[in-house]
């Protein structure tokens, strides 16, 4: 299951991500590392970005990247 498959309100744990080096580093910088618990807050319509809550902060992740972040419930 990927972050893209989550619905607003879901709480999941990140397993791994497959992305380019740059995108990867930005994910780590914002705390989206393997083992991190995140909560999906909202999904923008028409395949827009997904908002997730990491700790006390909100991070927007584009759909394409979200589909390559693997998570478990």
């Amino acid at each position: 299951m990927t972050l893209l498959d989550t619905r607003p309100g879901d709480e999941v744990t990140i397993d791994t991500a497959r992305a380019g080096r740059g995108a990867m580093r930005r994910l780590w910088d914002l705390g989206l590392l393997p083992g991190t618990k995140v909560k999906t807050v909202a999904a923008h319509p028409f395949r827009g970005p997904i908002l997730v809550r990491v700790g006390e902060c909100t991070v927007a992740v584009g759909r394409k990247l979200a589909s390559r972040i693997y998570v478990t419930k």
Binding site: A23, L33, G55
Partner: protein, 660 residues
């Protein structure tokens, strides 16, 4: 007293507010030498002397993937920093501590300013700062910078450190200990580093060997910078790579996670050192934070945030905000256009009278007319636009609305194959393209940055261009719909074309900061600083080009160009002299109306000339930035594109525009 303090922290932690509180209005913004990153420097005055305070660009970590991060690192290395004030967001303690742990490795005395304590409390976090002090072995000051709370304690700490640096407690052990196998590799590297770069008189090692060793394992772009400081390190890495590859050498406790290791295991999606640092930051956070469920009603701020972050309510609200922001800019512009000339009237009249007393065509006459044109024009057209755009930008940024607008725009922007964050450079570009090009740094990859920069360089009308367009429209009755239509068509075509050619992918990862009530002081300060540096750089250039253009006009050199008339009239429907105004925009956009307004033009001619100007080559400052950010080849390509576009715009408009 020679004492330098560096403010270091992640984006959105309130670093600039603290900078403002510490140093007051006297702070100066400048580009860090050799980079396009701006840093702010100011001074704290006190009875015992003066302390230099440097505000570094916001950085999530000391991995140097972006130029901001590299500058933050270079300030720490080169500026002779005596004390680091690490500003952290209490709400996101664990993520902020990652940077703190990295900073501690540098062995520079440090204090932690734990900001936004009110927001943490609001989120139900109770932070035991004494326990945090013990864990990190550095002083921790809780702060609410927006209300000035905690400032006194921070100032006291800084003065105390400056007065007697030895009072800062020495750390017995680093709070960041990695797992045994990683520590073994660090120890091995450390030993080698200490051997090849001894810390001796005359050749001071800026980095502690432990920091260097960890750095080598994590591979940063800074390595190039590091290798230029310590060429020995490059050899060390090469040597190790070669030895490991030929199996002549096995690191003690190899975990196959160093970047330079040929045996590195692809199954590590995250470098083990980074992962362990995150875990350590999380462990410290868990130990010092007590969470409690909040009773009572949800605060207005949180409710507003929920409203904005829910697409069904947020999108309409944000669209309205964006609309109002643009509307407001245009209103201010219109107001200024009527109001400013009235104020400047007597000055212009006086100068005209003065110019009349000199012989026509004499150098004195040329200069006396050129100077007001070079100085008054920017005040009349450019300053109001810049000021209003900078104010509104600062408002949107400080309130936390800007990133939300970027997220909202992401889907729409993705049709152009560019990320939603591009809305920020675009909006900035309406003020001045130069900061717009710089703001492309927030974009995820080089390809997207080039696409956005190309759009900024060619079709996006900056304040100066908008000034030309409105000025020309007023003077000659040019058709604004045609000009803006041409810009829009070129924008859409160019975006698709360049994005497809570069195959830019648009991955969005962005922090959405909390919604805040922006402080008037911070917003005004930000807008003022941007204006100030702009005028310092632009006014002298304007004066010089002003004089140059005047010389061309008054000496009649330009009339030579009327020989081009048959060609330019045939192709573009405008006179050869108007073509000059298109060429002049390369030097300075503000100079273009000087040429144009002095020529006899019809409405149709003016429409075509203004469209061509709006879609011509980027000005010199922007060209320079593009060359520096992306290389001369990219700049050459953009010049080629721009030349093609401006000429074909003139050609096409001449074909399709009816006589006016």
């Amino acid at each position: 007293m020679q004492f330098t303090v560096a403010l270091v922290g992640q984006p959105n932690v309130g670093k600039s507010v603290i900078m403002n509180l510490l140093t007051g209005a006297g702070a100066v913004v400048s580009n860090y030498p050799g980079t396009t990153v701006e840093i702010t420097q100011g001074y704290m005055e006190g009875p015992s002397g003066r302390i230099t305070v440097i505000d570094t660009p916001g950085t999530y970590s000391l991995h140097s993937d972006t130029e901001e991060q590299r500058v933050a690192q270079r300030v720490l290395l080169e500026a002779g920093v005596d004390l680091i004030v690490n500003v952290a967001d209490a709400r996101n303690l664990s993520r902020n501590l990652y940077l703190t742990l990295q900073l501690l490795d540098l062995d520079i005395p440090m204090v932690l300013a734990l900001n936004q304590m009110d927001m943490a409390r609001e989120a139900g976090m109770i932070i035991d700062t004494t326990a945090l002090e013990e864990k990190l072995q550095i002083p921790v000051t809780p702060m609410i910078a927006s209300k000035g709370e905690g400032l006194e304690e921070l100032e006291k700490l800084i003065w105390k450190a400056a007065g007697s640096p030895e009072t800062l407690p020495a750390r017995a052990t680093s709070p960041m200990r990695f797992s045994p196998e990683i520590e073994r590799v660090i120890g091995m590297l450390q030993g080698q580093i200490e051997q090849i770069i001894p810390e001796e008189e005359g050749k001071h090692r800026l980095h502690p060997s432990r920091a260097l060793a960890i750095h080598l394992m994590e591979h940063d772009a800074l390595d190039e910078d590091l290798f230029s400081i310590y060429p020995e390190l490059a050899h060390l890495v090469e040597d190790l790579q070669e030895k490991v590859a030929s199996k002549r050498f096995q690191c003690a406790g190899c975990f196959r996670g160093c970047w330079f290791c040929p045996a590195a295991d692809d199954s590590h999606p995250v470098l083990p050192t980074c992962l362990e640092r995150t875990r350590q930051a999380q462990a410290i956070t868990t130990a010092v934070v007590r969470r409690c469920r909040l009773e009572g009603p949800v605060s207005t701020r949180v409710r507003l945030e929920r409203l904005l972050d829910n697409p069904s309510t947020g999108i309409p609200i944000l669209a309205l905000v964006a609309y109002l922001a643009v509307r407001l800019t245009l209103e201010i512009l219109e107001f200024a256009e009527e109001f400013v000339p009235v104020i400047l009237e007597p000055v212009v009249g006086f100068i005209a009278g003065l110019a009349g007393s000199f012989r026509q065509g004499s150098l004195a006459e040329i200069i006396i007319t050129a100077i007001p044109e070079g100085v008054l024009l920017p005040f009349e057209v450019v300053m109001p636009t810049m000021l209003s755009i900078y104010l509104i930008m600062a408002l949107l940024e400080d309130s936390g609305l800007m990133p939300r607008i970027a997220v909202m725009m992401d889907r729409i922007m993705s049709f152009l194959k560019i990320p939603g964050q591009s809305i920020i450079p675009f909006l900035l570009g309406f003020g001045c393209r130069a900061p717009g090009v710089l703001a492309t740094r927030t974009l995820p990859n080089r390809e997207s940055r080039i696409v956005v920069s190309t759009l900024l360089a060619i079709p996006i009308p900056c304040a100066a261009t908008l000034g030309i367009i409105t000025g020309v429209a007023r003077a000659f009755g040019a058709d604004l719909r045609v000009i803006y239509g041409a810009i829009a068509v070129v924008f859409l075509l160019l975006a698709r074309l360049v994005a497809r050619y570069l195959q830019a992918d648009s991955e969005l990862v962005m922090e959405i900061p909390p919604v805040r009530l922006p402080s008037a002081r911070a917003v005004a300060g930000k807008a003022w600083m941007r204006m100030e540096s702009f005028f310092k750089q632009v006014l002298p250039v304007l004066m010089i080009t002003g004089i140059g253009v005047r010389v061309l006009l008054n000496t009649g050199i330009l009339s030579v160009l009327s020989r081009l008339d048959p060609i330019s009239t045939g192709l573009f429907g405008i006179t050869g002299q108007s073509l000059v105004s298109v060429a002049v925009t390369v030097v300075q956009r503000y100079a273009a109306p000087m040429v144009l307004l002095n020529l006899p033009l019809g409405a149709r001619e003016a429409t075509i000339a203004a469209s061509m100007i709006s879609l011509s080559l980027p000005c010199i400052p922007v060209s320079y930035l593009i060359a520096r950010e992306f290389g001369w080849k990219t700049l050459a390509a953009i010049y080629g594109l721009a030349l093609g576009i401006t000429l074909s715009t003139g050609f096409v408009l001449n074909l399709i525009l009816p006589a006016m």
